[in-house]
Amino acid sequence: MFGRVTLWIGTKEMGSGLLEFAINALKIVIVFVAIVSTVPLLVWVERRGSAFMQNRLGPNRVGPLGLLQLLADAIKFIFKEEFIPDHADKVLYFMAPGLALLPAALTFAAVPFSSPVTIMGHTINMQIADINVGIIYIFAVASLAVYGVLTAGWSSGNKYSLIGALRACSQMISYEIAMGLSLIGVLIMYQSFSLNDMIASQIGGFNFNWHGVHHAFKYLPAWGIFYQPLSFILFVTCGFAETNRMPFDLPEGEAELVGGYHTEYGGFKFNMFFMGEYGHMITSSALITTLFFGGYALPLISPEQVAAFWIDHGAGLAGPLHLSIADVSSLMTTLTHLAVFGLKTGFWLFFYVWVRWTLPRFRYDQLMDLGWKTLLPWSLVNLALTATVIFFARVS
């Protein structure tokens, strides 16, 4: 990753290196801004969605459909008084929100959100970094999220915060194990850690070899969910726990712990926790999409077919944009895929909201039991099953 971003100093090749550097920096900024600006939108969806489900109106006064309410909220957060509790450890107290937001932003770096675009001889990956161990990288960085929670809970100098932090921490560590194990079956399927490889494997129709006989289902896409349904259920469940969302939001159960690890936080610092949580949601939805629903690719339609479609139908755009037909096709393909990706991810984000306002909260011991005694064994079962099936399918 770093070796490839070679920065030559004092040579003629400096220019091209700098361009690459600039493109990467731009990608980082754009993605970060996109995530951050999705958060208010999600909040709006959340509030309107809950209102819809509870048969009330929700925010509808500020702006069209209440959309400007978000802006108002953001301004309120920023201008709130910065407050430090008396017993707090000041350095960590300030650091914690940052530690919470950072992994959320970093994890998205490995997610490919569209197909590569080739413009004027430059190929640009629609992905911040193509890491060949992408999926593990995401897990590794996500596991760092506990630091924000822990430091926040501890540095507040408040027992509710501390207990909330410890709960959140043990919950995240426990479910991380089940989550990781549930994915091993998927990894065996795709035989790769790279998310791009996984998307590539999901293009086309559902098919498999069994004892040398090839079975193909024309009208079913080759999505991971059809190959690994158990893994999908486990992964989604764990995803809820990892993001501390509703059925598993014990760490911040207000009836018991006031507000959990961010009880003592307000204003912008609270906002950062908020963004961190939603960032995790976004990454998690993007992962579900990528692992089980074909990523940015259209079902049953390969990227080549999309590109061919735009060569046929996008000629009209070439003139106004001063680009060649191939460039236009590539650009439009990328945009199409981006839209597909956005739709799929958006659905799963909505799913999060949906579940939040549907299911009640677990008790803490039930939560732990579920993680260790149900999800973990089942993910092991899934692993063993997948390995066995693949072994026998290969042997013949």
């Binding site: 920065l7 100093i9 004092g10 960590l92 960085v141």
Partner: protein, 236 residues
């Protein structure tokens, strides 16, 4: 040849960062800060692993150390609630001076060994040559269990293999040693597939043994944590 590559710059930057971070682990009096700095140290170390073309090791380092082990440490420290107990890290006594001096001496020796004692050419040649002999010996004579197909020569690129066709001949081997230039492996080096092939063939026994060790450690720590603690009174 460029004066410095971006890799060099990154190395020196992160090296400085990791040394400072490691020193803070030892010299900060609050154990929570120690633990957080250690987590930082480990994260930076994983960056080094990335730079050394060991991506899988890097993410494992991040997951296992930063994500699990250090979290455990921090949780324990937080439970103890020792934040207000500030110990004197350095107090001047003959024993303390001896300790610091000998640690510095060790550091000096290790730097000396690292800087002067190892020649990159040697390392490259020695480890490139060694697997040819060793892997065959290991697989055949010592009966290390082999699960999958193992090709002992797979670590060698074709070009290098050409250099040492007649590696049994000692004279030719030495001559070859002189000719070899430092040649870093290709980018595919360190791929997860090759690593796991090693782990599950040559090191499969060690792998299983270590997993057993982990199980024992788990059971042991659960038993210890459930105990009331301690067996005797402190005589003060």
């Amino acid at each position: 040849m460029a004066f410095l590559t971006s890799e060099d710059i990154l190395f020196h930057f992160f090296a400085a960062a990791i040394v400072v971070s490691a020193l803070l682990v030892v010299f900060v009096s609050n154990p929570i800060y120690s633990a957080l700095f250690l987590a930082l140290t480990m994260s930076i170390l994983s960056i080094f692993f990335f730079m050394l073309h060991a991506p899988f090791v890097a993410v494992a380092q991040l997951t296992v150390y930063a994500g699990a082990v250090m979290v455990l440490f921090i949780m324990v420290v937080m439970l103890f609630d020792l934040k207000r107990e500030h110990e004197e890290v350095v107090k001047f006594s003959p024993v303390m001076i001896a300790k610091v001096t000998s640690a510095a001496l060790l550091c000096g020796f290790l730097i000396g060994v690292g800087w002067l004692g190892v020649n990159a050419t040697q390392v490259n040649a020695a480890t490139v040559l060694a697997p040819q002999v060793e892997a065959k010996d290991l697989d055949k004579s010592h009966g290390i269990p082999v699960m999958g197909p193992v090709n002992p020569d797979e670590d060698l690129t074709a070009a290098e293999e050409a250099n040492f066709v007649d590696s049994k001949d000692q004279v030719k081997k030495e001559a070859a040693l002189e000719k070899v230039e430092i040649k870093l492996p290709p980018d595919e080096f360190g791929s997860t597939a090759s690593l796991s092939k090693k782990l599950f063939s040559k090191y499969v026994f060690a792998f299983e043994a270590v997993s057993l060790l982990l199980l024992v450690a788990i059971v042991g720590s659960v038993a210890l944590a459930k105990s009331k603690g301690g067996t005797h009174h402190v005589s003060r």
